[in-house]
Symmetry: C2
Subunit: 161 residues, 2 copies
């Protein structure tokens, strides 16, 4: 029921939602666009509002030069646009709404085309125990933490409708 | 007469050659292929024999998050091929012959198409004084250290013949 996410560093759980929470517009949000240039190693470019960066995550395995190094490298807007236009898969665009919930922060990802009306809620935890102890709000639906079809890297290579 | 190169870290001088040195086949060499995905920041993918990596070099300026960070990140062969196929400019292919010369090492870059018959000799130095004191061998021709048209990033965006 817990899951080390794409970045290999965080413990998180992921849920579909039954409906949107009340007063959605009152929360802070970020506009996120991301695209994958390669998946092994993972090279992802991302826009978060007006910040642009490339994430590199080394592939695992016994070859130490290819172990789990991870870097977030700043890009200019122009470099982001050049690189995202080179992505093989889909460009993922989503609005990430930040919803405080007890001592946790729910990241509610509202996807744009071609994934609309997909909505996924993610919650990150410090420890596996905290992840297991988490009681979701009643507007959460199914726990899809272990379902790879909800991973962003997987979505980016789905066929568009 | 000296020059901080593309990588911002080395002092080097660069020359055209009058002719190839004797017994060229007796020296060690590497096969290098490289391509640029963006130039600001510089994102270059490179093959050196059977090693593949991506070099990221942050752009300078007052924004510290974009300062001169430089990373060499390992790639798989497949990721290199995917990324080099996405390069906007030319893929540079060259044989780099390593020729010991006194206490220096001459890197003689013999370019393949579309730059053939371009040949450039590079020598790196520890200090600016050493660069200025360097006496080239008689088979070197013109010092082109300051000529941007001999830079690899520039070559990669030249029109092919």
């Amino acid at each position: 029921m817990w899951y080390i996410n794409d970045m290999g560093m965080e413990i998180e759980r992921k849920f579909t939602v039954r409906h949107l929470p009340d007063e959605l517009d009152s929360y802070e949000y970020r506009i996120i666009e991301q695209a994958y240039l390669t998946t092994e190693p993972t090279i992802r470019v991302r826009r978060e509002d007006d910040r642009y960066y490339m994430t590199y995550k080394g592939v695992g395995g016994s070859n130490t030069s290819l172990s789990h190094e991870e870097y977030n490298l700043p890009l200019t807007k122009e470099a982001f646009e050049t690189l995202s236009s080179k992505a093989d898969g889909n460009i993922i665009r989503k609005k990430r709404v930040l919803i405080p919930y007890g001592k946790h922060m729910i990241e509610l990802d509202i996807f744009d085309e071609p994934f609309k009306p997909l909505i996924i809620a993610e919650v990150e935890f410090e420890t596996v125990d905290a992840a297991n102890a988490f009681v979701p709000p009643d507007w959460f639906d199914e726990d899809v933490t272990d379902q790879r079809e909800y991973r962003n890297a997987y979505l980016s290579f789905m066929n568009k409708e």
